[in-house]
């Protein structure tokens, strides 16, 4: 009773929500019959918010107060290159918060990325509740397989703020595999090619009846459909600059117009060999308003984005190598993500994998379906399929010499734990600081810093004689927990990594309570 679980695909550009009813997973439509919803939040003058496709239409009306592609920023530090890039091209204000966190400023108020995510999740929750007719409190939310610990935690926080109990954070490609193979009794090796708005993932899985085992996973969280749009935008802006000496990208409204045009143009090129762009009154000079007129062929666009596509295959090479498999050992390849509907992507994938990608699976719905199936499987724990997922990045510790000491290598099945015994480096050293990193580089400074563990009260001893046993755990959400213990005194210190920059428990609870009397805030839906 009241124990329904929804599966939510919280995407960079679009989101979807699904539920299992009578044993069948279905994507839930909103009141307009839409199954896919833009991950856009628009803040209106009267203090209310719009989320979804209606919010997207406000991108041109009110670009400064309309937030999109927030997923590219969630869980990242302010100084990271992705944030810098976003600052340059996003129409909304991106600022630095506490602990090098990122904040978005709209109409004088600041929001964390988890809050923006929460607004989208609240809308997914509302859509489901509206269709199902009862309150929904539980959800499974998906993330890119290559999301690091901070990004996963921030996504989970968004769920909590939205008033949901997040049963599990699962990887998007794994969810897609589950939707593809559920109940079919397959015995196959498959690849999931997941190109979303902001991220690219590839997972190689083995399906053995009811078990979905991820053999390897790799990704690039700086590569997505948005980058394809950016190339198009740059092309249009540079051509315009040559002609009129005006850089359209410096004007927020003009930038949004370019973005909309690029998006449409991109899809047009999937159908046609050439497309023309016309944007009237895009800029003003002393002579009056000028329009943008440009042509682009499919061939030329392909050249513009060739390197982006090659990047995805470089990642695919990595995943296959880790799995010790070649493309002909795979039985199927499945496409996930809106951008994979582009014909150039489909062709490139077919060429790389030597097989036609599976059709009959909607790349924009499959992840939400898989999440819903997993949610139902958890509630009904004894039966159903089993996901054996892996951690996408190696986890290790910084050493005095600058090297990364790997404790858990990437593609280790989760949940997992590993212990390592470390000694002191100085006589009578009283405390040990352990800095944790995620990544594959042999030097820790080139990897992603996660946080710090501090063990205090080590008994005085000569260097090398006191020993610290550190236990690393990665739980089923792919989130890291660390414990450390002095082997001799038995003194234990258990902490959950709080990555500097993440929200504290109290902050999350506060935000959840703040938004839970939600009704007043959200804009009235049109009848």
């Amino acid at each position: 009773m009241g124990d329904k679980v929804i599966g939510i695909d919280l995407g960079t550009s679009t989101s979807a929500v699904a539920i299992v009813e009578d044993g069948i997973a279905k994507v839930i439509p909103n009141e307009n019959g839409e199954l896919i919803h833009s991950s856009v939040v628009s803040f209106l003058e009267d203090g209310s918010r719009l989320v979804g496709n209606e919010a997207k239409s406000r991108l041109l009306l009110d670009p400064e107060n309309t937030v999109y592609s927030a997923k590219r920023l969630i869980g990242r530090k302010f100084f990271s290159s992705e944030v810098k890039k976003a600052q340059a091209i996003c129409s909304y204000n991106i600022l630095e918060g506490d602990n090098q966190d990122v904040r978005i400023e709209i109409r004088g108020k600041q929001y964390t990325l988890s809050e923006i995510g929460a607004f989208v999740l609240m809308e997914m929750k509302r859509i489901a509740e509206s269709a199902v007719g009862e309150e929904i409190k539980k959800a499974v939310i998906t993330v890119p397989a290559y999301f690091n610990d901070g990004q996963r935690q921030a996504t989970k926080d968004a769920g909590t703020i939205a008033g949901l109990q997040v049963l599990r954070i699962i990887n998007e490609p794994t969810a897609a595999a589950l939707a593809y193979g559920f109940g079919k009794g397959l015995n196959q090796k498959i690849a999931i090619y997941d190109l979303g708005g902001g991220t690219f993932d590839i997972s190689v899985l083995e399906i053995g009846d009811d078990i979905f085992e991820v053999i390897s996973t790799a990704g690039d969280t700086f590569l997505g459909g948005d980058d394809f749009d950016d190339r198009f935008i740059d092309y249009l802006a540079e051509a315009f600059f040559k002609e009129h000496n005006i850089d359209l990208r410096t004007d927020k409204l003009a930038l949004q117009k370019l973005k909309s045009a690029a998006e449409l143009g991109k899809w047009d090129l999937s159908e046609n060999l050439e497309t023309s762009i016309e944007i009237p009154a895009i800029a003003e000079t002393m002579a009056g308003e000028i329009e943008l007129k440009a042509n682009i062929t499919r061939n030329y666009f392909n050249k513009l984005v060739y390197d982006l596509i090659q990047k995805t295959f470089k990642v695919c090479d990595e995943a296959l190598q880790e799995a010790s498999l070649t493309v002909d050992q795979l039985d199927s390849v499945i496409l996930v993500g809106g951008p994979t509907k582009m014909s150039i992507i489909r062709e490139a994938v077919e060429s790389y994998f030597f097989k036609t990608p599976q059709t009959g699976i909607n790349p924009e719905e499959v992840v939400a379906l898989g999440a819903a199936i997993q949610g139902a499987a958890l509630m009904e724990a004894s039966s159903g399929s089993l996901l054996l997922d892996v951690t996408p990045m190696s986890l290790g510790i910084a050493t005095a010499g600058g090297l990364m000491d790997k404790l858990i290598s990437r593609n280790t099945p989760i949940p997992t734990e590993m212990s390592r015994i470390y000694t002191t480096t100085r006589d009578n050293q009283e405390s040990v600081n352990i800095r944790i990193y995620q990544g594959e580089d042999s030097k820790y400074e080139n990897n992603e810093p996660l946080g710090e563990v501090r063990l205090t009260g080590i008994r005085p001893a000569r260097k090398g004689e006191a020993k610290v046993k550190v236990t690393f755990e990665i739980n089923a959400d792919g989130i890291v927990e660390v414990g450390a213990m002095d082997v001799d005194t038995g003194q234990a210190q258990r902490i959950t990594l709080n990555i500097s920059g993440g929200l504290s428990r109290d902050q999350i609870d506060e935000l959840r309570d703040k938004y839970s009397d939600n009704g007043a805030d959200v804009a009235a839906r049109p009848e």
């Binding site: 049963l167 053995g208 009811d210 078990i211 085992e213 499987a377 958890l378 509630m379 009904e380 724990a381 004894s382 089993l386 996901l387 054996l388 404790l407 280790t412 099945p413 989760i414 949940p415 997992t416 734990e417 590993m418 212990s419 390592r420 015994i421 008994r459 001893a461 000569r462 004689e465 755990e473 089923a476 082997v487 001799d488 005194t489 038995g490």
Partner: protein, 173 residues
């Protein structure tokens, strides 16, 4: 869905015995298992002990099952790699079997180390004894080794060190 009593008993006993089993025993395979059969075993045991299958159970059952499952994946990971499997197999078939049941990087595979003690106090006295010995305080070393041995009468390193220091003291007289 209530967990039947038999299953609960099974989980409780395996969780209790976990640190006494080697990886082959945990996966219920012989030491010469093929890679293919190893994988089947891994899938089979995962179906039985994956925490997701016990998602709605009481926290303590969940905790035990998670510990078992982690050990299962640890076992699979180590045994499915030829190099680590070889080192591991040697470790558990030797004299130090009890200490080698878990594969710990950086510790496994080296020359047999001196047994520095299994109890906090035993270790403490042993360390102090060693320091004293290095400082040529043989009387002090002897007392500490004796204390250490009191904590762990069966510890062979302690016995050895004590015998050593007693010899030195005898030689000096």
């Amino acid at each position: 869905m209530a967990l039947d009593e038999r299953k609960k008993i099974e989980i409780n006993s395996i969780a209790r015995l976990l640190d006494e089993l080697d990886y082959f025993q945990i996966l219920k395979v012989p030491q010469n298992v093929s890679l293919e059969e190893l994988k089947s075993a891994y899938f089979r045991e995962s179906r039985n002990y994956h925490p997701d299958k016990f998602y709605n159970e009481a926290p303590d059952i969940n905790k035990k099952v998670t510990a078992i499952f982690k050990r299962i994946t640890e076992a699979y990971k180590i045994l499915s790699d030829n190099e680590t499997r070889a080192i591991y197999t040697e470790g558990i078939n030797g004299a130090q079997r009890a200490k080698n049941l878990r594969y710990i990087h950086g510790v496994q595979g080296g020359p047999p180390k001196e047994d520095e003690g299994q109890t906090p106090l035993g270790r403490k006295y042993f360390q102090m004894g060693k320091i004293a010995f290095n400082n040529m305080d043989y009387k002090g070393a002897k007392i500490n080794f004796q204390l250490a041995l009191k904590m762990e009468p069966k510890n062979e390193s302690f016995q050895k060190r004590l015998a050593e220091v007693e010899e030195v003291i005898r030689g000096k007289k």
